[in-house]
């Protein structure tokens, strides 16, 4: 398996750290159920999130399957119109609020932030556990809303439909999102303070791994954006309960105000989903290219820039819904500016790989997939930020394809890369590289099969959110549904070989991929309950492959 060539002196010193008996790591030091349910250890909380969000991902995936099955034929034959509305609403809500937003921050952020900065835990361990239970409670409330009969408003809850006319369980769902929102806020708060106050000696801001920069930028967005959606959902609940016009124009309210408040959070929320994946990609590409990251500072700043731009582009979701043309022009221009930091990142990654000793481990294959899909997703975003083309493409399948390229092709590919990259650290086991690479390949192919036809469908004018469509769109829809089944296979495979490796996989050494950040160099796999034997002292930048003989020999 992977062997890391190390300078012998360092290795001996290091052997003290890794030479633990198996019963002293964070997984095995206490086996009781209560020790998991009431754990304050950031690593165990990460695994609690991992299990819960995986279940939510499966549920969201089943709903996606139902949507694609309905769209296999032009007629509405599998679902009724009403059920279809509820299916795509539930799919959107579950995937966004209960899977994508917590995915990398709550699982890998929790696991890695203290490890990468040389801390014993996050700044507020009890708050961390509380965040998990808020997430859990929010999930239960949202699932209750679905079991009672679901919500038919779309995940955007546009008023006045959601506040006055919809006869579904809007308020129950809003309560669930309110609760899960506070989980997200408190997680972000915890990471911000952890990065500010818990770094080990010598770890200056510009020695932080780029994953930390990504998580930090994400946390700021979570902290500043989420409370706005919380209060907006609160007002929606008030309007629905009291029948008083805040957003309903018939009652003296303003529906555009709802859209402004909603997108003030929900556009930055897209960056909550994608920024951590950008951070993951920087880590994976550096490690698997055996090269220092090209343009470290500019990548770090571009994460911050994306977070900042994220807050000033929200109205590009409203070009066709009645904002002033001058506002639309300004928001269009600002939206274009998001392409700059995104482009900087992509080119810096390419430059990092250039001349590197690239090895094709599973995480790298996923990262390659991320690069291609994120670029297509980003470029098609420029079509939509152009005012003229947006009129044509708004509310068509082009939009659906665009944001799936960012959120599924970008965020989930990044999440999969991250899970595969840090799996040996989290579990102390190696998964099967063969099945890993196969799943990465199948996911990539299946994804493009599913969503590329939707760009064409949207361009041809097929609107989103309808359960029927004209006959001439069928061929492309069949492509898309067929692709979705391939994609499902790609996603289901890790659910088999990853748990298998957890129990039967080959034991991993402390640094199977030859990473250079603290979690690889200074902790065991899996880490001990208190992470570090001794508080590390950092004297160098996070990526220091130049002049080092360390190389991954084989997989």
């Amino acid at each position: 398996m992977a062997t890391v060539g190390l300078e012998s002196k360092t290795f001996e010193k290091f052997a003290d750290v890794v030479g633990h008996e198996d019963d002293s790591n964070y997984l095995s030091h206490d086996h009781s159920v209560l020790s998991w349910l009431f754990t304050l250890d950031h690593k165990r909380i990460a695994l609690l999130y991992l299990v819960t969000i995986t279940l939510m991902f499966l549920l969201g995936g089943v709903l996606a399957g139902a949507i694609r099955l309905e769209l296999l034929t032009p007629k509405g034959d599998f679902l009724t119109a009403d059920t279809y509305n509820k299916a795509f609403t539930a799919h959107g809500i579950i995937m966004l609020f209960f899977f994508l937003i917590p995915s990398i921050p709550a699982v890998l952020g929790n696991f890695l932030v203290p490890l990468m900065i040389g801390a014993k835990d996050v700044a507020f361990p009890r708050l961390n556990l509380f965040s998990y239970y808020l997430y859990f409670a929010g999930s239960v409330i949202a699932l209750t809303a679905l079991l009672l009969g679901g919500v038919d408003t779309g995940w955007t809850f546009y008023t006045p439909f959601s506040s006055t006319y919809s006869n579904s369980y809007v308020i129950v769902m809003a309560v669930g999102l309110f609760v899960v929102g506070f989980s997200s806020i408190l997680t972000g708060l915890n990471f911000i303070i952890t990065v500010h106050r818990m770094r080990c000696p010598g770890l200056t801001w510009f020695r932080l791994p780029l994953f930390i920069w990504g998580i930090y930028a994400t946390s700021v967005v979570q902290l500043l954006g989420t409370p706005v959606i919380a209060v907006t959902l609160g007002l929606l609940g008030v309007e629905r309960t009291l029948g008083v016009g805040i957003f309903d124009p018939r009652l003296g309210g303003d529906p555009i105000l709802f859209q402004h408040l909603f997108w003030f959070y929900s556009h930055p929320a897209v960056y909550i989903m994608i920024l951590p994946s950008l951070g993951v990609t920087s880590e994976v590409i550096a490690t698997f290219s055996r090269k220092n990251v090209f343009g470290y500072h500019i990548i770090a700043f571009s994460s911050i820039a994306i977070a900042v731009f994220g807050f000033i582009v929200w109205a590009h979701h409203m070009f066709t819904t009645g904002i002033s043309p001058y506002a639309a022009m300004v928001f269009s221009l600002l939206t274009f500016s998001v392409a700059i930091p995104s482009g900087i990142k992509v080119f810096s990654w390419l430059a990092t790989m250039y001349g590197g000793s690239i090895s094709f481990g599973t995480p790298m294959i996923y990262a390659f997939g991320f690069l291609g899909l994120f670029t297509i997703g980003g470029m098609t975003g420029l079509f939509l930020s152009t005012l003229g083309t947006d009129i044509h493409l708004h509310d068509t399948y082009f939009i659906v394809a665009h944001f799936h390229y960012i959120m599924v092709g970008g965020a989930i590919m990044g999440y999969m890369a991250a899970i595969h990259y840090w799996w040996p650290k989290m579990t102390g086991r190696l998964y099967s590289e063969f099945w890993g690479k196969l799943s990465a390949g199948i996911t990539f192919i299946g994804f493009n099969f599913t969503f590329f036809p939707q760009f064409i469908l949207g361009y041809l004018g097929m609107p989103r959110r309808y359960y029927e469509y004209p006959d001439e769109f069928q061929v492309l829809n069949v492509f898309s549904t067929a692709g979705a089944t391939i994609l499902a296979v790609g996603y289901l495979m890790p659910l088999v070989y990853m748990p298998y490796s957890f129990f039967f996989g080959e034991k991993a050494n402390s640094n199977p991929y030859g990473g250079s950040t603290l979690e690889w160099t200074n902790t065991t796999s899996p880490p001990s309950p208190h992470n570090f034997e001794k508080t590390p002292v950092v004297t160098e930048e996070p990526y220091h492959y130049h002049g080092k003989e360390a190389a991954v020999v084989s997989h």
């Binding site: 014993k120 806020i185 106050r197 902290l223 009291l242 805040i246």
Partner: protein, 274 residues
């Protein structure tokens, strides 16, 4: 790898009783706790910010009716409450100071006095809300466009009477008074309905903002109560007082929200001569 040196300092060093295991020094712990509270308050600013944004938009759109509606609030009670809350901020600041100097007894006492001022505030608020409820200013099913219209009518009639009186003319004519006007009654007129809705929006925002503020005070009472208990137990010392300081920050934030709410809601229409 060689970049990372291990140091002799480990987590086995002498531990202060108040130092959590994952912090190295009390100073680090204090900084983290305080920064955490500031970050939380930032979230709170955005949380209230949604309501303030809605208020700003509608005040701009419906400025005339917002001023009208504002006149229905009792400035005297609002001002009294402002004074009470500022006094509670003073006692809270004294509590924080006492915790820093190690005066546990007075830390606890000032905290309890702060709660007492807070309860006074909510008592006054209760009186206000009860009055608002009785005169049908509570938005929702109880809201009566009819009442609002009649109120407007009465005010206008009074103004006309006053105007006629000042001109020394004994003759004045009132518009016809309709005795029965249902909410949304066509005879209320499109304008009457719109004005009623706009005023209702003001009161909705008034109730949302003041009740969210009151909710924060209730949460504050519980937290202050817990910390007062620990203060009496002698849990805080010049080495370790960040819980008192943090609850202080929270309480001052709650005060500052009110400092914004009072002029926006109560003083908005004051220049109209009420």
């Amino acid at each position: 790898m060689s970049a990372i040196k291990e140091t002799v300092q480990d987590h086995g060093q002498h531990h202060h009783k108040d130092l959590a295991h994952h912090f190295d020094t009390l100073e680090q712990q204090h900084d983290a706790n305080t920064l955490g509270m500031w970050a939380f308050l930032l979230t709170e600013v955005l949380f209230f910010g949604g309501l303030f944004a809605a208020y700003t938009i509608y005040r701009y759109k419906y400025s005339a009716m917002f001023e009208e509606a504002s006149n229905h609030l009792d400035i005297t009670l609002g001002a009294t409450n402002t004074v009470i809350l500022i006094l509670s901020s003073l006692t809270m600041a004294l509590a924080v100071r006492c915790s820093q100097t190690g005066n546990s007894l007075w830390t606890g006492r000032w905290l309890l006095i702060t709660i007492a001022f807070g309860l006074m505030f909510l008592g006054v608020k209760y009186v206000e809300w009860k009055h608002d409820y009785h005169i049908h200013l509570m938005p929702g099913k109880d809201w009566s466009g009819k009442d609002w219209w009649h109120w407007q009518y009465a005010k206008k009639a009074k103004d006309m009477e006053k105007e006629a009186h000042s001109k020394g003319s004994a003759e004045h004519s009132f518009p016809d008074r309709k005795d029965v006007l249902a909410d949304n009654d066509p005879s209320l007129g499109v304008r009457g309905i719109q004005e009623s809705q706009q005023a209702r929006l003001f009161f909705l925002l008034y109730f949302c903002m003041t009740s969210l503020h009151a909710l924060h005070m209730l949460v504050g009472f519980v937290l202050i109560g817990i910390i007062a208990y620990f203060a009496y137990q002698g849990a805080y010392s010049p080495d370790y007082y960040s819980p008192v300081e943090n609850i202080g920050l929270y309480w001052h934030f709650v005060d500052i929200v009110w400092i914004f709410l009072f002029p926006l809601l109560y003083l908005l229409g004051a220049h109209m001569g009420h």
